[in-house]
């Protein structure tokens, strides 16, 4: 192993250890989408008809439609949880341990991000396992082909979380992230309703959903779960990764970004 892989493995191991030590976090991450699947989807099944739209080749039940969106929900909340933990680490001083490593900052942030995504992907697979028992059964190969999509979507949402964490000065401000980032991103997306349904309701809302990066993350997962690639979703997700992660590295650069304006003890 090289020093780089040792460092990445160390960061990933810590993320995993922290996750296993916080069982309530794992339960919360699972319960949230399961509530939507068991209750919300059951109610909407009766009122929301879904036509045959790719990647589905037949009419599908609402819970089948909503499952990729709920996978995205896990990644979205997990990404914001990473952001929360970065702000917490900064307040407690634990982040200094990471940032004074001799490895470049982009590598440290990227490793932390990827480690968080690996943990999130495990949560998604646990959710998909329960969904399978509930009757949501994509093709077996889909469980393999969805992995790259989960990683890309997770990296995109995690990058956004890191970017947000660089702009939040205090933990107390994090509630605003819930109100102004997570909920709008989730509800104004194709996670719960197809975009064509949105257009029927409101063209403006449809357009908002269409430019929402979370919509593209969900569509990437949806198609990948059926062994397909949605080119636009892939392009938007990759573009957002470059944008969000680039901005994060800028914000955490010692000589640039908001870091520069902080007081001595705030790092």
């Amino acid at each position: 192993m090289t020093g780089w892989s040792i460092a990445f493995a160390g960061i990933a191991r810590r993320e995993f250890l922290r996750f296993t030590r916080q069982r309530e976090r794992f339960l919360a991450a699972l319960v949230r989408p399961l509530v939507w699947l068991f209750i919300f989807a059951a109610g909407f099944r009766a009122v929301l008809g879904l036509s045959i739209t790719p990647p589905y080749k037949t009419y599908v039940l609402y819970e089948v439609y909503v499952t990729p969106g709920l996978c995205g929900m896990i990644l979205l909340f997990s990404g914001m949880q990473s952001s929360l933990s970065m702000v917490y680490d900064r307040e407690t001083g634990a982040m200094r341990s990471l940032l004074v490593s001799p490895f470049p900052r982009w590598f440290l942030l990227g490793s932390k991000l990827l480690a968080g995504v690996i943990v999130s992907a495990l949560q998604v697979y646990a959710f998909l396992g329960i969904a399978w028992v509930w009757g949501v059964r994509p093709p077996w190969l889909g469980y393999v082909t969805v992995l790259p999509a989960l990683v890309l979507a997770g990296v995109m949402l995690g990058s956004l979380g890191l970017l947000i964490s660089s702009a939040i000065r205090q933990l107390e401000n994090f509630a605003g992230v819930m109100n102004f980032v997570i909920f709008p991103m989730f509800f104004a997306s194709s996670a719960l309703y197809p975009l064509w349904r949105m257009r029927e309701a409101s063209p403006l809302l449809h357009d908002i959903c269409a430019v929402n990066p979370f919509t593209h993350a969900v569509e990437l997962i949806r198609f990948a779960l059926y062994g397909q690639v949605e080119p636009l979703a892939l392009a938007v997700t990759l573009g957002c990764i470059i944008l969000f992660f680039g901005a994060t590295v800028f914000m955490y650069d010692p000589a640039k970004g908001l870091w520069r304006g902080r007081t001595g003890g705030a790092a």
Partner: protein
């Protein structure tokens, strides 16, 4: 597994080499460093050096700029102007090499309370590219050095304040740094724990020749031969041996005279 070698196997910069004493570059050279937070001038043309194997105390009241200076040395952020070299490596131009030679104990506790001592140290070793048997051996070595071998499997949150500080010193020593930075390492400790930590650090200097920059506002922690840099409102007011600063009086009185009563 091999210990990680910093990127671009760099050489110490020419200026630092030229200013070296005792056959190698100084452990730390701070040259004309200024830093501003908006309208606040946190540091103003700060200059001093820490020689190899020396103990240097950075003495100043709260708000003097000690933590800001530590943040600049450790590259948490960049200085507005000036230059910092660690063991001859420019912190701005060769950050990897400079940081690889620094061991840091921050003012705020930075152990992960949920993890065991071994897991905390293993994480730190990985952040310096040290893994496998090398990491295990070094963890055992530094924990023995700070007297915490029996706490390897204990969760960090269950350790006392003094033990946590010693553990943080062990962590800072894991990658065998040339310069140890301790930012008010005895803050919040009782008298006994404070004495233990101080004795440990002085022992490291004597036995291992680790250069140390010790930020403090507690005069009793300093001995007559110590090199003292008095920092006040972001400026260096004195740079001398503690005995020379104190003269016929006490170090505390000399400090108050220098700083106008600390105001």
């Amino acid at each position: 597994m091999q210990a990680w070698t910093p990127r671009t196997a760099g050489r110490p910069t020419a200026t630092a080499e030229a200013g070296a004493m005792g056959g190698g570059p100084a452990a730390l050279v701070v040259e004309g460093v200024s830093h501003r937070f908006g309208a606040v001038q946190a540091l103003d043309k700060v200059s001093f050096r820490v020689e190899r194997g020396a103990f240097c105390a950075l003495l100043g009241l709260n708000g003097a700029g000690k933590t800001t200076l530590f943040s600049l040395i450790t590259r948490l952020y960049d200085s507005t102007s000036g230059r910092i070299t660690v063991a001859g490596f420019d912190a701005r131009r060769q950050p990897g090499q400079a940081l690889a030679r620094l061991g840091v104990v921050f003012q705020s506790r930075a152990l992960d309370g949920d993890l065991t001592l071994r897991q905390n140290l293993s994480y730190h070793a990985a952040l310096h590219g040290i893994g496998g048997r090398a990491a295990r051996d070094r963890i055992a070595e530094v924990l023995a050095l700070v007297g915490l071998s029996d706490k390897t499997g204990a969760r960090a949150a269950t350790l006392s304040g003094g033990q946590q500080r010693r553990a943080e010193i062990a962590r800072a020593l894991l990658h065998r740094p040339q310069l140890l930075l301790l930012d008010e390492a005895t803050a919040g400790l009782d008298v006994r724990a404070r004495a233990e930590v101080l004795a440990l650090v002085r022992g490291l200097i004597a036995e291992r020749g680790v250069s140390t920059l010790w930020a403090t506002h507690i005069f009793e922690e300093l001995a007559a031969p110590d090199h003292v840099v008095v920092l006040h409102k972001g400026r260096v007011l004195a740079d001398a041996r503690a005995a020379d600063l104190a003269g016929a009086g006490t170090l505390a009185q000399a400090f108050l005279d220098l700083t106008g009563g600390g105001a």
